[in-house]
C-alpha cells in the first residue's frame, strides 16, 4: 500500500495462541514498539497454518507473511511446530523456486516470555519488507484496484 507516496507494507503475522500471541501481548504490556503495519491473526498452533492462508494473504495485498510459534520442543501440543517447520521449509523453498522473494515469508519462534524478541522480530521484518518493496509476484491485481 502507498501512503502519501511512501510504501507502507501490509504484514500478516500468524501467531500461535500459547507462545507467540502471548509474546506479542507481552511486548504490548512492556510498551515495546513495533510498526502498525503488522496485524496479528491468532491461531491455536503454528501447525494450524495452512499454506493456503499465506497465499491468500499475498493475494489480498499482504507484502509479507510471518509465522510465529513456540520454540521447537516447547509446543503446547508437543509436536505442532515441528510439523509447521517442515511444511514451511518446503513451502518457502517452493515459493522461491517460482521466483517469489524468500524474504517475504519468515518463521520465527517466539515464546510467551519473549516480548522483546517479538517486537524486535517485527521491527526487523517490517524493515526487510519495506526495503524489498511491494509484493508484485504473488499479487492479484483485482484485489488492488480500489
Amino acid at each position: 500500500m502507498q501512503v502519501n507516496g511512501q510504501f507502507q507494507p501490509t504484514i500478516v503475522a500468524f501467531c500461535c495462541n500459547w507462545c507467540s500471541y502471548a509474546g506479542a501481548d507481552l511486548s504490548g504490556t512492556n510498551r515495546l514498539q513495533y510498526p502498525a503495519n503488522v496485524k496479528i491473526i491468532r491461531i491455536p498452533c503454528s501447525c494450524r497454518l495452512n499454506p493456503m492462508f499465506i497465499l491468500r494473504a499475498f493475494q489480498r495485498g499482504a507484502d509479507g507473511v510471518i509465522l510465529c510459534g513456540c520454540h521447537p520442543g516447547d509446543c503446547h501440543y508437543t509436536s505442532g511446530n515441528y510439523f509447521a517447520r517442515r511444511r514451511m521449509t518446503l513451502l518457502f523453498n517452493m515459493l522461491e523456486f517460482l521466483g517469489i522473494e524468500r524474504e517475504r515469508t519468515r518463521v520465527e519462534w517466539v515464546s510467551a516470555a519473549e516480548g522483546a524478541k517479538f517486537a524486535a522480530t517485527m521491527n526487523d521484518f517490517v524493515a526487510t519488507i519495506t526495503r524489498l518493496g511491494e509484493n508484485k509476484r504473488l499479487e492479484d491485481l483485482r484485489c488492488k484496484s480500489k
Binding site: 501490509t10 500478516v12 500459547w18 507462545c19 500471541y21 502471548a22 506479542a24 501481548d25 507481552l26 511486548s27 504490548g28 504490556t29 510498551r31 515495546l32 514498539q33 513495533y34 502498525a36 496485524k39 496479528i40 491473526i41 491468532r42 491461531i43 491455536p44 498452533c45 501447525c47 494450524r48 497454518l49 495452512n50 499454506p51 493456503m52 492462508f53 491468500r56 494473504a57 489480498r60 495485498g61 499482504a62 513456540c70 520442543g73 516447547d74 509446543c75 503446547h76 501440543y77 508437543t78 509436536s79 505442532g80 510439523f83 511444511r87 515464546s111 510467551a112 516470555a113 519473549e114 517486537a119 484485489c143
Partner: protein, 663 residues
Amino acid sequence: MQRIGVFVCWCGSNIAATVDVEAVSQALSHEAGVVFSTNYQYMCSQAGQEMIQAAIHEHRLTGVVICSCSPRMHENTFRKTCERAGINPYMVEIANIREQCSWIHKDKAVGTEKAIILGRAAIAKVLLNAPLTAGTSPVTKRALVIGGGIAGIQTALDIADAGFEVDIVEKEPTIGGKMTQIDKTFPTLDCAACILTPKMVDAAQNEKIKIYAYSQVEAVKGFVGNFTVTIRRKARYVDEEKCTGCGLCTEKCPQKKVPNAFNLGLDTRRAIYIPFAQAVPKIATIDADYCTMLKTGKCGVCSKVCTAGAIDYHQQDTLIEEHYGAIVVATGYNPIQLDQFDEFAYSHSPDVVTSLELERLMNAAGPTGGTLLRPSDKTHPHTLVFVQCVGSRCDGGEKGKPYCSKICCMYTAKHAMLIREKYPDTEVYVFYIDVRTPGKNFDEFYRRAVEEYGVHYIKGMVGKVTPQNGKLYVQAADLLGGQQLKIEADMVVLAAAIEPDKSARPLATMLTASMDTNDFFTEAHPKLRPVESPTAGIFLSGACQGPKDIPETVAQAGAAASKVIGLLVKDHLVCNPCVAESNELMCNGCSACEKVCPYGAITYIDKEFRGPNRTTLLRRIAQVNPAVCQGCGACTVACPSGAMDLKGFSNGQIMAEVDAICR
C-alpha cells in the same frame, strides 16, 4: 443473517489514549452484518457487561465483537457475559486493541486505523462463527507429584487428605529434598529435620500416598484428566520389599571412599548407603558407580551380611505405567555451579564454601557433628565473611542469573546469628548489595542479627578472595564507609544463586508445559493463576516456579493441592469445543491426519455411503474423538481434501480474517 454488535472498550486511558475509540466504533458500525456499535470506559466492568447484555436483547444480536484487551485476558469473561444474555459463548470474538495496538503505538491516528482493521477482522471472523457446545471427558481420580521435597510432600499430603490417591516420584533414594540438608529454619530457628521428618513419615504411612523413590518420569501422554505416565524405577540393587533398613550393609561395605552427596561431598560414605538416618523409604541403595561387585563382579560383602537377603546385583530398571488426572511439578532447585566465579576462590580453597555446605557443617548430623570447623584443617574459624548475591542479579551472558534468589538474605542472617550465638569469639562480616527482608518477622530477624548479635553488615561487594598461608585474604568495598577493606578471614561463605533442577527442562518438554528463559516453569497467570501451568492439568509447587523460602513453598504446595483437588472432584471435564471435525463426505480415509495427531484423537471406520444411481459405497473415513482432541489443527493442514477443519478456527474464518486485514 447475522446481527453483530460491536463494543469498543476504552480501558480507561489504556486504549483511549492512543486509539480514538469513538472513531473505531463509528467506522465498525458500517461493516457488513453490524447492527450496533458503541464504546464504553470499561467493558469488563459490571456496567460494561450489563451494557453488552442489554444490547444483545435490544438489537437481537447473534454475535458480538469486543474490541478490548487481549483475549487471553477477558475472552472468558465476555463469553460468559454473552452466554448469560442467551447467545452462544462462541459467538464472541475479541479484537485485541490494547496489547497489540494501543500499547505499542504512540501515534493516535496510526493506533486508530489499526484498531479499526483489527475490529474488521474480528467482525469478518464472527460472521462465520457457529454456536459450539462443549463436550465432556472423564477424570482419572489420581494425582502425580513429581519431586518429593517439602513442596511435593506437602502437596501430596493435602491431596491425600482430601481423599484422593496420589503418587510421589522422587529421583533420589529418599524423599525430603533440600530441606533435609538444612540445619535450622528462619525466622524461628527451629530445626528443619524436626519439622520435616514427621511429614515424611506421614507421607510414607498415608494409605492414599504411594512413593516411588529412586524413580523418574520417563514419558507423559494424554491430557488433563487423562494422563498416562511412564515411570522408570531405577535399580537400587536392593529388594525394597525385603530391606529392613537396618543399615548393617552400609557399615560393612569395604568401599569407603564415595563422596557423600548428602553432605555435598564434605565427607565420604560407602558404596551401599542410606542417605541419612531418617530417610523415607529407609532402604539401602547401591551406588553402581562405586560398587566393586557391580564393577568387577568381585566382593559381595553386603549380600553376605544382609540377613534379609535383600541384595540383588541383577536388579534392572523397571518401567511402570500409571494413569493420573492431574500432575504436580515440584522439581525444586539447586545452587548454581560456581566455576565462573574464580575471584571468590571457591575452587581453590576448601574454606570457601556455599551456604548449603555451611548448613551441613553446622548440622549435628553433618560431617563435623555440628561443630563449626574449617574444612581444610578442621580448626575453629574466628573470622567469617559472607558474600551475598553470588551469581544472582547478574546481567547477561552465561555468568550468573538475572534474578534475585530471594532466600539468601534471610539464611545468611540466620547463619550469622547462629555462629555468633554459638561462637561469640568469632567475627562475622556480611557483604551485601541490598538486604531484602519482606516477609513476616523477617526484617525483625535481620535487625536482631545486627543489633543483638553484632554481625557486621557492610554495604559493598567482595572483589576478590586470595587464599594464602591458611588464611583467606578478602578485599572488599565498604561503600558507606568509603573505604576499601582488606580482611583476613578463616572462612568465606558464598550465597550462591539458586536455579531450577536440571531435570525440569526435559520434564517440561514431556508435559508440554512452558518455561521461562531461566527454566522456571511459567504460571498460567503471574498473579491470578500462580500455581497452574498454562497446560491444563499441570500444576506447580515450590521452587520450580521461582525462588521460594519454606513457608512460601508450603503455602504454594497447599494451593497447588487445592487446585488439584478442585480438578479431581469433578467426574467429568468440560472439553474445549474448538476441536477438529472431519467432513465425512470429503474424507479420503488416507490416514494423514491420524499420523500428525499428537493425542491419538483420530480413528477410522468403514462407512456405507449412497453412491450414484442407487448404489452403495463402502468408504474409509476419519472420526475425531472430541474429548481427546485438543484443537491444535495439525490435521487440518495434513488433510489434502480439506475434509478436516477446526471449529472456532476454521479455514473460512482464518481466511476471512486475512481478507479483512489485507483489504
